[in-house]
Every structure is written in structure tokens, then in C-alpha cells.
Amino acid sequence: MADREERRFAEVHRESVKLMAESAGVELGDDVAALLAEDVCYRLREATQSSSQFMRHAKRRKLTVEDFNRALRWSNVEAICGYGAQDALPFRSVKEGELFFVEDRDINLVELALATNIPKGCAETMVRVNVSYLDGKGNLEPQGTVPTAVQSLSDDLLKYYQQITRAILGEDPHLMKVALLDLQSNSKIAALLPYFVYVISGVKSVSHDLEQLSRLLHMVKSLVQNPYLYLGSYVRSLVSSVMYCILEPLAASINPLNDHWTLRDYAALLLSHIFWTHGDLVSGLYHQILLSLQKVLSDPVRPLCSHYGAVVGLHALGWKAVERVLFPHLPAYWANLQAVLDDYSVSNAQVKADGHKVYGAILVAVERLLKMKALSLSQPAEGTSNAQPGSVMGAMGYRVSSPGLSPPPEPLSEAALGIASHLQAGGAGCPWEEWTPVPLPAMYCELYSFFGDSLAVRFSTGPGFGSYPPCTQSQLSDTRKEPSGPASNPDTTRKMPQLTANLNISPRQDGSPRTDPPPPSLAATGSGRSLARSSSMQRSRSSSSRSGQRSAGLSRDVFPKARFTSPQTGPPVFSFLIGGRQMGRRCQGRRPFQTTFAPTPPFSTIPPRAYAHKLPVIGRVGKPVRRWTCSHYSLHLPL
């Protein structure tokens, strides 16, 4: 028997054969039984071998009774009846008897026939499709859109969709927050993407409802930030919805109490965010968007809020977009704007207020333009990293270096930190070959002719320190004090003090005490607006207080409120830079700029400022400053 074991075959023992024969009433001799046993073994093996090919062709790993029966049938042997089940049969053993058997339970047919719990038929065979998107290197992409032709929404997804949309557009702000958060992190909603996009495209139908609009924009943000979603071509639809919020004269903006400005700012921010994070998908859109912005800007019929949208939109697309579109248009546009601003009639008050908004937005945009341009020129060695800050630093998601380098005037107080760096991305990522840029000095001269000192001072003081990019918060506040020192000295030549506020907020931590910038609520806006109105009424020759008030009172305003978004943590730091409108001493403020930029001709020889005299001086210290100084985080500089 030993050699037989080595063959690894099951053997039917001759005793078994004899037993079976006896049960059939035949008496067998030992030798006959042995022969039979051997033959039975062989036949069984043969049948098993041929049954295995049925298994192979059925592409299974498990040999079934059915396979064996087929093998028997094809070798002209009667098939085994009774066990046609596809499942494995439970094979039991009785220890004491060394007996193995297949369990064969009695089935009570009556019970079965009269049973009330009729089993459901097995589900219908169906084909379901899964897609594995491979990127160029053959790695699986997390998840993708599913061809809608094959994919039907499951009930769960449908329910999810209803709940989410209800929560976001509903009344409960807490629910909305939860829903947005989930939308931002849920990995299984790819199939719903088209539906959400459709919902978002409904912005056009709710242009009277600022609240709904901003909720939809939040939804866009969540979708864009969801790392599991592949937006694909839907990104176009999202961008068009966002553009609608930026540019269109929304029905809501008829009522001056509605703060549609915030909405536009937020939408612009979103736009830059989309361009920064999904640059590959929207690269083709960049031109189109620039064109449409340009169109709006050059269309005098459009209301000022549209113009404002165009400016912040350009700003969002990066300083190159500003250079390319806004700057060339400025002379033409300026005339219109000035006409608005110079009209002191009461009936024009509202329009004039809007005009100031646009003015501020333009100022912010061109300042950054100058700053970035100066940087790219003055630091040729580091040009690579500075020319495309968005691509280098932005890739990290943080503004790692140079917090003071180019604090982009952040129009929104509410925006998430770190997002400001995206503002540069859109422009930086897009090449401008066909356009020859205006040299910096010329550009500065021209801009100066528009803005006068308001441009110069702020330009030179705040961001000018960018030449020391790695300065920390403390250093920064020190250096900030320095220029403000002389400026704050009682200066006899100074006629009109000017204040520019540079708000530097280190990464905001929850729970850190913060008394200032209140979220742009309607109430705040309202108060700001009423203030503005009153100030504009009592405005005299150089009444520019309105904007100043705004800048101080509402930090979300367009006034330079440079925000530090560096990942370093620390207490918020505010620094105020105070300069005077002083022809003789203005070089002081600009010095950093001048030293870093050699070929600039002396600014004293700058052509006469054609428009400057007529312009309101912006950033004049008003009452709000005193409010500010109460804050722990601000530096009070008595004038």
C-alpha cells in the first residue's frame, strides 16, 4: 500500500466494493473485489479528468457535480441523479464509524408548499460597468465619471443628491456647512457630478437672491476642492456659472443694500481657484474669459458693478491678465470713471459710490501689477521662481516664501487662507508671447498720472519690502515701523496725512481672539454704505474719506489689506503705514523700490500728473481709524 499512497490517489477499498455488492445481493470473492475496486478507481479518475475540462471551459475554479455528470454522459455512462446543485455539498464525517457522507436532509414538502415566505426569484443577470482611468504612467486614477448611458443612479445616490441640494439651498446654515463639507470630501459622488453641475447652472434663475447665489458658489467651491472628482468638461459649465456671478448686473444689485460686491469678490476668488487647481482642464478657457472680461470693461453701457466684476476677475486671473487687458484699457476707461466720480449731484450718489468701488479695485489690481513686474525685473536671478510664483509656490498649496513679497491685496476677508496665492497662478501659468509688455517705468508713469500719490505711497511702502522675502512676523512689524516713523513725525510740509493700512494676518486659528474684520454681513455692509453716503455728501474738494472709511471699517474692502498667508503661526499683526501727501518727501516711501530698480528715471521728473489733482485722495484717516486703534492688534500711530 505504501507505493500507492505516493501516487496521491484516492482508492476505493475492496471492502467497500464487497459491501456494495452485498447490498445488491451479490457475493464477491476477494480477488474479484480487488479487481473491481481497482477498475472503479481508474474509471473514477478518468471521469474526473474529463470532467475537469468542462470546468475549464466554463471558466471556473470549482468542479461541480454538473461537470462530473457531463463527463459521465459523454462517456456513455448514466449520470448521477439527485445532486445537481451548483453549491458545494456539505460533506460530513462520523468519527466513530470513520464514515463520510453527504448530508441529505428530509424536506417537508407540505411545509414548503404552504410556506408563506415565498423566496424572491434571484436578481436578474445584468451588466455593470466600472471604469479604470489610467494616466500616462499607467496608474489608476481614483475615480471617474461614468458613462451615463450605462450608469443609472442608484436609489442611494438619488437620496444623497436630494438631501445635499436641500441642505445647501435650505435655511439651516449648520446643515449647509455639513453638506458642503461632505460634498468636498465624498469620494463616491462622481455619478452625481452632472446633476450638481446642473443645479449650479441655476445661478441664472436666482440672480435676485444673493443668499442662494453665494450658496451655489459655495457648492462650486466644494466640488472643485473634492479630490476624488474628475471634473472633466463639466469644469466649463462651472466656470460659466462663476463668471455669471462675477460679471452680470445681477438683479440683486439693484438694491444698494445688497452686498453683491462680496459675491463678486468671492466668485472671482473661486475663478482663480479653479484656474489654479484645474489649470489643465481650463487652459483653453483662459483666452475666452479674458476676452469676455475685456468686452465688459470696454462697454460703457454696462453698469459699474459689471465693470467692478471685470476688474476683480482680471485681478483674479493674475497680474499678467491685468497688464494685458486692464492696463491698456485704463486711459479710455478712466474718462468714464472720472466723470462718474466728479459728479457730486445727489442723484448720482449711488453711482458714485459704485464708481469708488471700481476705482479701488483698479487701484488694487494695478498696484499688484507694478509690484509683480518690478519683482520680476529687479530679481532676474530669482526670476524663475518669482516669475511664476503660482506654479512654484502655489504647487505647495501655501505661500511658503516671501510673505511680504507680494501680498496680493485680498479683496475678501472671508476667503480661506492660502487661496490668495492662487490669484497669481492663472496669469503666471499662461504664456504671453504675442504681446510686448510696456516697460515698467513707462507703466509706472502712466499709472502715476492716474492715481497720483495714492499709488506711489502704498506701492512703495507695503509690498516694497518684498526684497526681504523671508522676514518673519516680528521682523516685519519692525520694518514696518521704521518707515512709518519718519512719516509719523510731525512734518511741516505735509498737508494732508494719508494712511494706508496694511493688514497682516497670520494664519487664522480658530479661537484666536479677533475683533476685527467682521464677516461681510449685510448689516456691516449697510452701515458702511450709509457711512459712505453721508461722507460723500459732505465731500469737499479733496473728500476721499469715504473710501478711507470703507477700507478701515470693512476689511473686505478693496483697500490694501495685505494678508499674510504664510503657514507660520503667530498672533495676527497689523501694521499701519502712514505717509503724507508730500511732494518733497515722497521719495522716502518709495525708496526701496527705487533702490532695487536702477534704470528708473528720477521720479521728480515725472510728467505732470494730469489727473491727479482732480482725484480724490484715497486713504485719508478718518474716524474708523480710531476704532481700529482700539484693537489689540493694531499699532496706533498718532499723527
Binding site: 507505493d3 481508474y42 457531463r70 471604469v131 479604470s132 504612467k137
Partner: protein, 773 residues
């Protein structure tokens, strides 16, 4: 002997009956060929009816003569007449002495007195192959047992006392019992081990080559022992030497070891194959001389006889091959292919595409205004290119086999194809295709086969519960044509008549086709998407209409399970192959096969048409792949190297290469023109059930039972070899093991064996399988 007579008679007569319908299969011009197939059961024995008798290959003629002789002996005069008439043999050729004795390459047994006997023996061996394989159409079982009866009759029959000296026996039946010659059973071990000792002591370069002899020798010696009732000696012999054999013969050894009685040899198919076919070895001349000298010196006649009778040694001049070279090519049931088996010229080039002007329309170029213009030009250029393209020198002539004419709908489809092709993604190692997996859920009844239409609009599944299910992958639902009564009502002149004939009420996403009475193992869409073929365990191939969703024809011919079927890329023809070891070529409008391709020693497990429709490949459980010429039914290539049954085949789109996958988990690549193995792709851990080249042939995708899809760099695999032409001359491949370099990616399913793969026209990879929790 009565059973023999009737069995053989039936076989022959049945062939005659088949002659008539088969002959007009290709039209009149091919009538001769049609008849050829039917008269000569073995594909490698096409009789020369259209040639002068003398010009025919001597072997074929001898086969015929042997059959005639046999028939005459059994007094089947009618059959003799018919056969003679069909083959065009003159009366006097039937004289056994008139047979040409020169061609009997096998009759080399020393001291053969009667050359006729030698011939006859070899011939009959061959006849048995074909009869056991090919001619068993209606009653495979009986014929097989008939053979055994012949066999039994020989050993215990009317010529007693001759069993010990088979070579002297003029009666053909005796020669079948080749194993009856025997020496002292106790000495077998001695013989074998002395040979083993000898081979172990020869120079390294010869050892690998000579070691090839071990396995066939072992098998035949074992069978001789078993046949002669030396059960214990056989067992001892097996115990002692089975461990020495190459591991890839394990499966065969298992079958062998279960066989210990002479009675068991009856009906055991594996054994039948061994006995009736010669195991082919390729050995260099030096090594062979060495072996021969040794055996002659030692007077080791036992082994020498086996080598003479059961082995075919293909001697070549030149350097002996290395062990790895030998291992790469061996593994099949009957050894390697003879070199001359792969010498025939194969026209592997593609047929010229019909010229279709591509109408330019802009409907599909929305949105992309800038890109639209250059795109438009491309298809134009392509169609121009195909016009100016000269006929491929390796392509068969356009009318080598008659192909169906293109209908208008086919032309439209071709245009669609060309349009899609312009949008095709160029794949490469840096640009892998996305994979779209179609999982069959709730397929409790067992999914056994899947196919996609070429345009990927439909998917069909064959199930173990005998049903075929068709799904629409696009939003377009499946609709039946209206009933005849309703069809009468519609306006036949209307423009949208094709739309009107469809019955909206029947629209559904899937349709179930009932008709088979056994698991559906093979399934294939026609290229025009109007038909679907399914082959089943019930022995039939069915043709279904996808307009009416009914069965149109049941093709009966295989009397055993039909494992696979495949439509020709040009439609009309299809091939089927199954358990009866015969592949059959059919035309959809003929209920009888046009060709029968026999030669495989075991089940045909998969079938595939060459892109030019002139050839087809069959893979078998005998672990070989054969390429057949559709025109004349010849086997033009035999590829050996797989170590397990072959379950997947794929031709490269340019027709030059063939990829095959087997249960051993390896993919082998073959150069059809040179008849060489050109690559081995290792990586899968289980049976490979599906292989597909991307539309441009850059990527080979393989799907396996191990729940993975793997992508291979086919371009690189084929590029590397084209620099090497030494192998082409000698036929000795030298493969480097670069599977890991060629493997571009492995993609796991959750728990779904991948049983089908398909590249869409734009090179998206579709895969399918049943979720198998």
C-alpha cells in the same frame, strides 16, 4: 471484426455524402477542393485528385492505398469503388505490390523483409489517427471502440504467434499493436537506467539534447509494460523514473500513472494519441550520432526499437541547443513540430481594404473650431493612402478565397470605422488605455463566454444554463423586427423604412436567446452585427439573428461539445472546434462544413480567424497551436511550447504575429511568417482566457483567471526580434527573459476572472467577466 467493417464503412460513406453539399461551398471554382476535404480525412493527407497520380505526394498516395487495401480485404467493394473513383486512382494501383515503398520514412525497422508491411504499418497508424480523430463524426464512441477491437483482434486474433515479431507480419492490423513486441520486463529498468547513465555522462552540450529522449522513452516503455500485463513491473518502473521527467509533463504523467491495466488502455484518449503519433524530437546530428553509437554498441535493441518506431527524430546540422532553448519549445503532447511542418509559405499580409470615399461632414466637429480643420483632412489623407498603397507582398491575392461582397451597410460601417480610427488614441508604454470593466452581476447560472461587437455597441454572454444573452451597451435599445403581418402594413417606400420595421414595443436593454441544450462555451458576433454565433456543449453551433432575436440555423457536425467558434473578419465564414479534435469551417448559408481540419491530438479549445480570413488558428489541449489554410485545408504551422491547454489566441492587427495564452499562465508570441516563437510573457498566475491586441498593435492585453488584466508592450517584444535573423534560419529560438520589462501594468479586479477583452475602435480597453464572490 464486424464492428470494424461497419464502422469504417460508415465513416467512408458518410464522407461521400458530405461531398456534395460541401463542394459548392465556395462556388464552382472550388468544387475540387471541397471534395478533397471530404475524401481525405487527415488534413495532412490531401489526396491528389486534381493532380496526376504520380505527382501526388507518395505518402498521401500510400495512405489511400492502405485504406483501399483494407477495404478490399474486408470486402467493401462498393466503398473501394467510390474511393478509387474519387481519388482518381487507376485500377492497377490497388495491387499492394505496386505501392511505392520509398516514402515510408517510418519503416526503418532493421531487417524489414517485406517493405509493404513496413509501409502498411506506418500507413495504418496514420489512418487510425485520422479515423479516430476525423472520421468519428456520427459515432465517435463506436469508432474508438472499433479501433480497440481491431487492436484486440490483432493481439489475440487470427494470426497467433506473430505478436512478438510485428515487423514480419504482413497483416496491417497487427502492426497497430506496436507494443506487443517485448523483451524481458525485468530488463526495462536496466535498459532505461543504463541509457540514463550514459546521457548523464556525455558532454554538457549534448546532455540537454539527449535528455529529450527520456520522456517519450519512459512513456512508451511504461505502456509496453502495461500492455503486456506486467502490472507490477510497470508500477515499479513508474515509481523509479517518473520523478526524473520534466515538471511540465506532470499532467500527462498523472494520467499515465492511473493507467495500470491493459483494459484501461482501451478508450483512453491520451494513450491513443501516444500510440498513434510519433513523438517529435529535434536533435543535432552530433548528439544523435552519439546516441546511436551508444545504443548500437550496447546492443540495446529494446530502446533502439522504440526510438525507431515511436519517435521521430528531426536531425539538424549545427550547434546543439541549450536546455533553455529546448524547454521553450517542448511541452506539447507529441513533442516539437517537425521543421518542415512550418516551412510552407504563409500569406500573412492583410487584404487590401476596399476603396471607399469618405464623405466629409462636419457633424462631429462641434465646439472645436480650431481643431476641426486639421482633423478633417486626416481621414481624407488616410483614404488616399490606402488607395496608393501597393499590395502587401505577403498578402494573399484578393480572390484567394471568395469573400462576400460589401453591402451598402458594410460600407457605411467601414466609414464609421475610419472616422473612429482618426480619433483613436495612440497607445504606448507612456500612454496606456483606460480600462472599462463590464461585470456580470447575478450570473448564478455561470458565465462561460463573452463577446463584444467590433464597434462595442453590443455585448453578448453565453451561460452555463444554455442561454445566450445580448445587452446593448449604448442607450439604443434592442428591438425586434415586426411580425410579418405588421410588416405588410408599413409603407415600403418611405425613407425611414428601416426604422419602421422595428417594433418599438419590444425595445429592451437585453434579450435572451433560448435554443441550446447545454452550456454555451463559445460566442461570436458577425462583423456586420446582424448575426451571433454560439457553440455549445450539445454539439451544435447556432446562428442567431440580431434583427429578430431568433435562431436561424443549427449547425450539426460536431457530435461532441463545441468549445469555441469564431466568425471570419469578413463575415460569411466561421470556424468551430471542439472535443472531437476537428476544426470545421462553415459558411453561414451551408448546413454542412466546407472544410474539416484534423490533426490535433486532443480537444480544440479555441479558434480564431486570421485578419485576412485566409487562415485560421486553433489551440488545443494537446498544447499545440496549428495554423490552417482555409483554401486547401492544410496545416501550415504547428507551434509548440505551451505547457498546458491553450485557451486564448489573438492575431496582431497586421497579421504578422500570433499571441497565445494557456493554462500555464504564460503568453507566447509567434512569428507566423517564420514559424518561430518570438516571445514569452510571464506574469499571470492562472489560466489566460483572453488576449487582445490594441487596434494599432502596440499593446497586448491579457486577461486571466487570476483576476487581473495585464498590459504588455507588444511593440517592444516584436521589435527586439527583428534584429535577429539567425533564428529565422535555424529555427532555434533564443528568448531573453524580459517579461518584466515588457509588462506595462497589472490591473486587479475585485473578484472577477477576466474572460474577455476588447479594444474599442478608439483604443479603450473593454474587459468582461462575471463577479464571482
Amino acid at each position: 471484426m464486424a464492428a470494424v467493417q461497419s464502422g469504417m464503412g460508415e465513416g467512408v460513406e458518410e464522407k461521400d455524402i458530405k461531398t456534395e453539399p460541401a463542394s459548392d461551398g465556395f462556388g464552382n471554382n472550388n468544387a475540387n477542393d471541397g471534395r478533397l476535404v471530404s475524401t481525405s480525412p487527415g488534413s495532412n493527407a490531401p489526396a491528389a485528385s486534381n493532380k496526376p497520380v504520380a505527382g501526388g505526394p507518395p505518402e498521401d498516395q500510400q495512405t489511400l492505398l492502405a485504406v483501399l487495401q483494407f477495404l478490399r480485404k474486408n470486402k467493401l467493394t462498393e466503398s473501394v469503388e467510390i474511393l478509387r473513383r474519387e481519388a482518381g486512382l487507376p485500377e492497377d494501383d490497388l495491387d499492394p505490390n505496386g505501392a511505392d515503398s520509398s516514402g515510408a520514412g517510418t519503416g526503418g525497422a532493421a531487417g524489414s523483409v517485406d517493405s509493404d508491411a513496413g509501409d502498411a504499418s506506418s500507413l495504418l497508424t496514420r489512418v487510425t489517427v485520422s479515423s479516430s480523430a476525423a472520421a468519428q463524426a456520427p459515432t465517435k464512441g463506436t469508432i474508438q471502440s472499433d479501433c480497440c477491437q481491431v487492436y484486440d483482434g490483432a493481439s489475440g486474433g487470427p494470426v497467433p504467434g506473430n505478436s512478438a515479431a510485428g515487423e514480419d507480419q504482413p497483416d496491417v492490423s497487427v502492426v497497430l499493436s506496436a507494443y506487443s513486441q517485448q523483451g524481458d520486463p525485468a530488463l526495462y529498468e536496466v535498459y532505461y537506467s543504463s541509457l540514463k547513465r550514459f546521457i548523464e555522462t556525455v558532454l554538457d552540450c549534448h546532455r540537454a539534447e539527449l535528455s529529450q529522449v527520456f520522456y517519450p522513452l519512459f512513456v512508451h516503455m511504461y505502456l509496453e509494460l502495461v500492455y503486456n500485463n506486467h502490472e507490477n513491473e510497470a508500477k515499479a518502473f513508474f515509481e523509479k523514473f517518473s520523478g526524473d521527467q520534466e515538471c511540465y509533463y506532470e499532467d500527462d504523467l498523472r494520467v499515465l500513472s492511473s493507467l495500470t491495466k491493459k483494459e484501461h488502455m482501451r478508450g483512453n484518449e491520451t494513450l491513443l494519441d501516444f500510440r498513434t503519433s510519433k513523438f517529435v524530437l529535434r536533435i543535432s546530428r552530433d548528439s544523435y550520432q552519439l546516441l546511436k553509437r551508444h545504443l548500437q554498441e550496447r546492443q540495446n535493441n529494446q530502446i533502439w526499437n522504440i526510438i525507431q518506431e515511436h519517435l521521430y527524430i528531426d536531425i539538424f546540422d549545427g550547434m546543439p541547443r541549450s536546455k533553455s532553448q529546448i524547454d521553450a519549445m517542448s511541452g506539447s503532447l507529441a513533442g516539437e513540430a517537425k521543421r518542415e511542418a512550418n516551412k510552407a509559405k504563409v500569406y500573412y499580409g492583410l487584404l487590401k481594404e476596399p476603396e471607399i470615399e469618405l464623405p466629409l461632414d462636419d457633424e462631429d466637429e462641434e465646439a472645436e473650431n480650431e481643431e476641426g480643420k486639421p482633423k478633417k483632412k486626416k481621414p481624407k489623407k488616410d483614404s488616399m493612402g490606402s488607395k496608393s498603397k501597393k499590395q502587401d507582398p505577403n498578402a494573399p491575392s484578393q480572390s484567394r478565397i471568395p469573400l462576400p461582397e460589401l453591402k451598402d451597410s458594410d460600407k457605411l460601417d467601414k466609414i464609421m470605422y475610419m472616422k473612429e480610427a482618426t480619433k483613436r488614441i495612440r497607445l504606448g508604454p507612456d500612454n496606456l488605455p483606460s480600462i472599462c470593466f463590464y461585470s456580470f452581476l447575478n450570473a448564478y447560472q455561470g458565465l462561460t463566454a463573452v463577446d463584444f461587437t467590433d464597434d462595442s455597441s453590443l455585448i453578448a454572454g453565453g451561460f452555463a444554463d444554455s442561454t445566450v444573452r445580448v445587452w446593448s451597451v449604448t442607450p439604443k435599445k434592442l428591438r425586434k423586427v415586426k411580425s410579418a403581418a405588421d410588416l405588410n402594413l408599413i409603407d415600403k417606400e418611405s425613407d425611414d423604412v428601416l426604422e419602421r420595421i422595428m417594433d418599438e414595443k419590444t425595445a429592451s436593454e437585453s434579450k435572451i436567446l433560448y435554443g441550446h441544450s447545454g452550456p454555451v462555451y463559445g460566442i461570436s458576433f458577425s462583423p456586420d452585427r446582424n448575426y451571433l454565433l454560439s457553440s455549445s456543449e450539445d454539439g451544435t453551433v447556432r446562428l442567431w439573428s440580431l434583427q429578430t432575436f431568433t435562431c436561424l440555423v443549427g449547425y450539426k457536425g460536431h457530435n461532441y461539445p463545441v468549445w469555441d467558434t469564431h466568425f471570419s473578419p469578413h463575415g460569411y465564414y466561421f470556424v468551430s472546434g471542439g472535443h472531437d479534435r476537428v476544426a470545421r469551417l462553415w459558411a453561414t448559408d451551408h448546413y454542412q462544413p466546407l472544410r474539416m481540419f484534423s490533426g490535433h491530438l486532443a480537444d480544440i479549445t479555441c479558434t480564431r480567424f486570421h485578419p485576412n480570413s485566409n487562415y485560421l488558428a486553433t489551440g488545443s489541449s494537446d498544447r499545440t497551436i496549428r495554423l490552417w489554410d482555409v483554401l486547401n485545408g492544410n496545416c501550415v504551422r504547428i507551434f509548440t511550447g505551451h505547457k498546458g491547454p491553450i485557451h486564448a489566441l489573438a492575431f496582431s492587427p497586421n497579421g504578422k504575429f500570433l499571441a497565445s495564452g494557456a493554462t500555464d499562465g504564460r503568453v507566447l508570441l509567434w512569428d507566423i511568417g517564420h514559424g518561430l516563437m518570438v516571445g514569452e510573457l510571464k506574469g499571470h498566475t492562472d489560466t489566460i482566457y483572453s488576449l487582445r491586441f490594441s487596434r494599432d498593435g502596440e499593446i497586448l492585453a491579457s486577461g486571466s483567471m487570476d483576476n487581473t488584466v495585464r498590459l504588455w508592450d507588444a511593440m517592444k517584444a516584436f521589435d527586439d526580434l527583428e534584429t535577429d535573423d539567425f533564428t529565422a534560419a535555424t529555427g532555434h529560438i533564443h528568448l531573453q527573459d524580459n517579461s518584466q520589462e515588457l509588462l506595462l501594468g497589472t490591473y486587479l479586479t475585485k473578484s472577477t476572472p477576466v474572460i474577455h477583452l476588447h479594444f474599442t475602435r478608439r483604443n479603450l480597453l473593454l474587459a468582461a467577466g462575471a463577479y464571482n464572490p
